[in-house]
Symmetry: C2
Subunit: 264 residues, 2 copies
């Protein structure tokens, strides 16, 4: 059992809460039973190590068994070690170190995607995570993220995807203009979601391949990005409400695309 | 200008971050320009005091003018005083103390509501605030909150409604069984939103008055509550995703009710 909170191993795992360390090592952390379970189910080959407290070992036996069957190294730790490894105060007893996957836009486009989300300069970890979870729930083929956005492998983002980060490709570091060009050349229509849009969500044709383009939480999408999209789409809301937040708007648009709210 | 961070006034405002103080005094705090602006627009008679830093006084002149026209007491403060009054580290220069409104279920029902949300044992401030914002955006007539839920006048909830808390009645402290009974006797159909539901969201009849019933973040709705609702409704999502979070599910259901995603 690992009991030394000052060990190099603990320091090394804990350092993955820093973006620079994640980028240098190509590793990130997922904690909590749901995220760890999905990592083992969908990305076992990328899981380096699983750290489990004694209590979690008992409580989440099926997760630990799945890890052992996948030949993942499982380490029992005391509570203090797991807490020291995690950036959250209540890491729920399970934490895995996972190798990042280098998904590319070309890979995604080669799969003839029907539904995509492009996040442009999204900064809030909770928003990014919720959009990834929503994209997964509503059957998107991938999430595309521009340069200048939050790191999707940050612990808070990974945590708020509740495992969805392992279900679909998330391509990062994209140039927004080049990405819009690539989508257009592959016949994927682009819908900028923005409160200034002329097209109302119920009028959008979601039957053909399309990508929702979502802007920054505070300033939305720059006009030059909106202008390059095929449509600028507004979710119809009450006049007294200034806007939906990013995660809500993305969720509603994705739900509409998937047929979760209407037969398509 | 108020400059003494240790004054009784500062302590008194700061103490409103505690539920017991809010309940005893019938007052709560709203901070940030959007929330304060909506408080003055929609509930000026309930705003006791407005505190503004010098920078915000210049930047948000139209809000301050509206407050003065409504005969609200406006106090200039230095940055330290405003920070000491607020429970957030970046209160954006504006903070108002507002009297709570005692909305009742009877008042709401007397208005022949067409769309309601009932939150049962919802605990997370961000979720509660986002649902109130979504209810407002999608034209709900009121939000109903059961006993055992987060206090909707807590600073984090108020902040995440971004002013919506002043746009529609929020009735709190309700007994879930009694509320479901009252809704039924007023001809309001009740839809429990739950992943176990037999009815899919696209099949729900949203043309008649109805209430969405949302359960706790972790354990959902107790079976006896689900059984008392007219329908148990599931948002259709990918099989690999265990659930939507509460705020996402509520947003999608409310959007469907409002016709934001389909013509109704």
């Amino acid at each position: 059992m690992l009991t030394n909170v000052r060990s190099d191993r603990v320091k090394s795992v804990r350092s993955l809460s820093r973006r620079s360390v994640r980028e240098r090592t190509g590793r990130f952390v997922v904690d909590g039973p749901q995220g760890v379970r999905e990592a083992i189910r969908y990305a076992a080959a990328r899981v380096d190590d699983l750290y489990v407290t004694s209590a979690a070992l008992e409580r989440h036996d099926e997760i630990v068994q799945a890890a052992l069957e996948a030949e993942i190294r499982v380490h029992e730790t005391d509570d203090a070690v797991l807490e020291a490894m995690s950036d959250t105060e209540s890491p729920q007893g399970l934490l895995a170190v996972v190798a990042a996957e280098a998904a590319t836009l070309d890979d995604v486009l080669a799969g003839s995607p029907r539904l995509l989300v492009l996040l442009s300069h999204v900064r809030d970890p909770g928003n990014a995570g919720t959009v990834i979870r929503g994209a997964d729930a509503f059957g998107a083929d991938a999430v595309l993220v521009t340069e200048g956005s939050v790191d999707v492998l940050a612990p808070k983002v990974v945590r708020s995807t509740v495992g969805s980060i392992f279900h679909l490709p998330v391509v990062t570091g994209l140039d927004v203009e080049a990405t819009l060009g690539a989508l257009a050349s592959h016949g994927i229509r682009t819908f900028a979601a923005d409160g200034v849009g002329d097209t109302l969500l119920p009028d959008v044709d979601v039957s053909r391949p399309h990508a929702w383009v979502m802007g920054n939480e505070a300033w939305g999408l720059p006009v030059e990005v909106r202008d390059r999209c095929d449509e600028v789409v507004r979710v119809p809301i009450s006049e007294r409400v200034e806007s939906l937040n990013l995660a809500m708007a993305a969720t509603v648009c994705l739900a509409a695309s998937s047929g979760a709210t209407r037969r398509v």
